[in-house]
Symmetry: C3
Subunit: 383 residues, 3 copies
């Protein structure tokens, strides 16, 4: 169902290229200068050192950088890793960020700050670097861990977390749970009782109160998040080795989705690879479920067209969003947008070339998925 790009109708190409996207789940760009080792470790989800007998440039994301980021930095496409990194070093990280973030064509960033956020540009830094609005998405587990670090009695944890979350999210647009990383999505979906929370907090604090991975507390965070009422994002599927991919199948969230339905809070399933069809089913079945295929698009590179295609099956078009999930290297911010645009051109261009969709329908779906759905869900205004 894909198609040579030069066969895609000009009107559709223009609509896709010119649409200011809402990147509804992204992290900040790094302002550090990066050695080759540091750069290679930033273009993989693995947290292991890259083995000496390989280079991370020999991957879809590596080839996509050499193909698509190189011209943004003034190089020929398909340059070598050495040429690319030399150029990157020569023009400096600030300029690299300016060029790549600018070329991404984002109209609004929703920046999740909970993972090593102090090493990266925050929402205001992202807004400054790009000249477009950037709002925050607050990671529930990070707030809870700050509460623990500040010290509190187990019996006070629930109240202190509520206070901290309301305070921390005053101007936020959304919340995020990484229960998939910390436990798996196969937790009991019901809210835990106050007593269970106190008991679990006691266990956690006795163990030091660092990494929160107790399922009772993870559930409590989610249910407090639902009370807070902001759109709630969930890490789903693909990520670093910390995730048990088998236990991050979005279908495991069915119980929670149904219990949360009366709250009216939008639940946004992030990334989802390789469970994009499962996510699409949930978005079809439940009015409160949305999803995207960010992250996977970047790491699948030339194959991202397949992922985007699979995301456009049973879910209503009003339930699909765009994100890059970029973290650190600005190449990932650019590719997240650029590869998604190319994939949409090929997939929707294929529907049009096959006579299945009109150009107008394709343009409408691009606009919904790329920006309008996120503007509605997060109440961002007209953009």
């Amino acid at each position: 169902m894909s198609i040579e790009l030069d066969l895609v109708p000009t009107g559709l190409v223009r609509a896709i290229e010119e649409l200011p996207l809402v990147d509804h789940h992204v992290h900040g760009a790094s302002t550090r200068d990066l050695s080759r080792k540091a750069f290679e470790e930033m273009i993989t989800e693995s947290d292991r050192p890259v083995p000496e007998w390989m280079t991370q440039f020999d991957s879809q994301v590596g080839y996509a950088i050499l193909r698509h980021c190189a011209p943004v930095l003034g190089l020929e496409p398909y340059c070598t890793p050495e040429e690319y990194l030399a150029r990157r070093a020569r023009i400096g990280t600030d300029e690299v960020n300016r060029l790549l973030l600018g070329a991404a064509g984002i109209g609004h960033f929703l920046v999740e700050t909970g993972y090593r956020g102090d090493e990266l540009l925050g929402p205001s830094g992202m807004a400054e670097a790009t000249g477009v609005p950037a709002d925050e998405v607050v990671r529930l587990e990070a707030v809870a861990e700050q509460v623990a670090a500040a010290g509190c009695a187990a019996g006070a944890f629930a109240d202190r977390f509520t206070e901290a979350l309301w305070e921390r999210s005053r101007s936020a647009r959304g919340l995020k749970s990484i229960a998939a990383y910390r436990y798996g999505l196969d937790f009991d979906p019901a809210p835990p009782s106050r007593e269970e929370v106190t008991e679990a907090a006691g266990r956690w604090f006795s163990a030091g109160g660092f990494r929160l991975d107790d399922p009772v507390l993870l559930r409590h965070l989610i249910w407090t998040g639902l009370e807070r009422g902001l759109p709630l994002q969930f890490h789903i599927g693909y990520g670093d080795p910390d995730v048990d991919l088998r236990r991050s199948d979005p279908l495991l969230l069915r119980g929670l989705i149904e219990l949360a339905e009366p709250t009216g809070v939008p639940l946004l399933l992030l990334h989802c690879y390789p469970y994009q069809r499962q996510a699409g089913f949930l978005a079809h079945a439940y009015p409160n479920v949305y999803f995207d295929v960010g992250l996977g698009v970047n790491y699948a590179g030339a194959r991202s067209v397949a992922l985007v295609g699979e995301s456009l099956e049973v879910a209503p078009f009003a339930k699909i969003l765009f994100s890059s999930d970029a973290w650190g290297a600005a190449e990932l911010h650019y590719l997240g947008a650029h590869l998604w645009r190319r994939a949409m051109e090929r997939v929707l261009g294929g529907f049009v070339a096959d006579g299945e969709w009109s150009v107008g329908q394709a343009v409408r779906v691009v606009s919904m998925v790329g920006a309008e759905n996120a503007r509605r869900v997060y109440e961002l205004g007209a953009g």
Copy 2:
């Protein structure tokens, strides 16, 4: 592996377009006049109201209706939902049904009557509306619930169900289990004992004897169905939110498939989305397993070519069937056939264009999957 339709050899196109299909799992068409709300709720598997901030026409099945059903009703392709529904209302439901059911080109319907069948055309109504034979597929759970509604002692349930099933299926061509909806496919595959059945029937009757969701009774129904000896269909995968998609993976049926193998009863896995490859594996491994990708084809619209492609991998071609699983709106009956034909043209046309298959081989597979396999399994005669 897909291809522009105008590159598909004429002989293959003609064979596909002209083949009278056997729709081996379909429900009746609705004869009611439908408001926009009622129509939109009929073109989704969700049982929730369509949220006011979206329309179900913004989906693959919605676009397929505007593209493919519109011309059957005398409209231009890619009309608006408003134009479509106005036209539909003007010509009236009977004429809409006549046009769309007729254009589907079905040679034989196997009509499953167990879900709100009184709101729809039955087998004889479908035969009358189309002029081709229509036989019945009997839903096991519906028969059991009728037995319960008529009133019986727990200890008499097993015998009463057997009598009712034999009576009810005298002229039926097949049976169907919706254990996936009622419990999940992760049930104990062995037949329950008489005592277990009595005990479970007692529990069920005490609770009112309405919706049958006890796994002991569901197993009993299946094993009684296997004794009855008609081909036995199973709902698999995609459906309404009543299904836990994770627990409707066809691989969960492995134990039952092996226990049922000596009975010689064909087991037909319906729909299967997104587990079509898993279903194909079972059809490859076990002589008594068949499958189709109905329902998913309709809801994937322009992407149905991907599903049909994935269904043509490891399963022998004698084990794959066609169905629409249409329910209610006759648009779904038409699209089930029409989208399948277009997908087969693209997928098999692609094999031929790539030099992998001959036209003769492609025509043979179309004929097997579209009609012959079902005629053999259900003993429908030559057609």
Copy 3:
């Protein structure tokens, strides 16, 4: 993302066609003359008789034989099964093997000898028939069953197995576990204690000491294999009905992968269908994980391009290997290589035609996946 083969750049086609592949997991070719029944039973993974109402030639692998193997035997493509088998019988099995094994263009075979190896050519027979090196991969379970057959006390089993494994694998290049067939991959990943092994061996010997399917012993074999230090292959996913496909998801190996990481032993996930994306994720996340899509490529025939495409998503290219997993009929040895080459031409040719990859990058990946990665992992030298 696939493409007409005549649009693939000549340089890429030549690189793919001329590369001597390393088939890192294959079984021997059969030297028996085969009746039609015996041949059909060899071109399916099912161990059931082919039902009389179908022929296994009506399948993707059957059509691939008639399309691609026929010309190697001097017939027209798309001949009938009868013509094919008559020709096969006339020229004789030795000549069939010489022609098909020769046409496969393999540079080095790694022959797994543990399944009915006495009916097939062994490594030296394969080397003789092809004129290229063939080394052995030793199946752990076969060695253990030989130890049991020779007779030993339960308390001596662990030592006797170690001795036998070291002896048996003196010149082997790799080891293989079929725990997926014998139990499932959902076993406790930790090494069992000496006492547990003795106890389990006692149970096994009391039951006759034949088929080893005790999870304690299967784990013991794997951990002894990790001590032996040769690259360790795992059957994953698709295979004969002996496998519970649901319990052969590679994600179930996560615990073992992490525990085995410090040993530095490469873990090679074989076949993987339909879990190739899950395997790719593991190869992305863990430095010690590799995978291939052998077996599935053969049985998917004209659809193998889809599998190969899905294998080229998130895994670094240094972690993907080629295998045929052919067993018995030399058609499977030939098709394993030939269909893989055609799929790589289409998938990588598509990336090049789309402007996503350079020809040089595509040639590099072909060389890595087709030969270099296996040469490095198994220390085969330059080839």
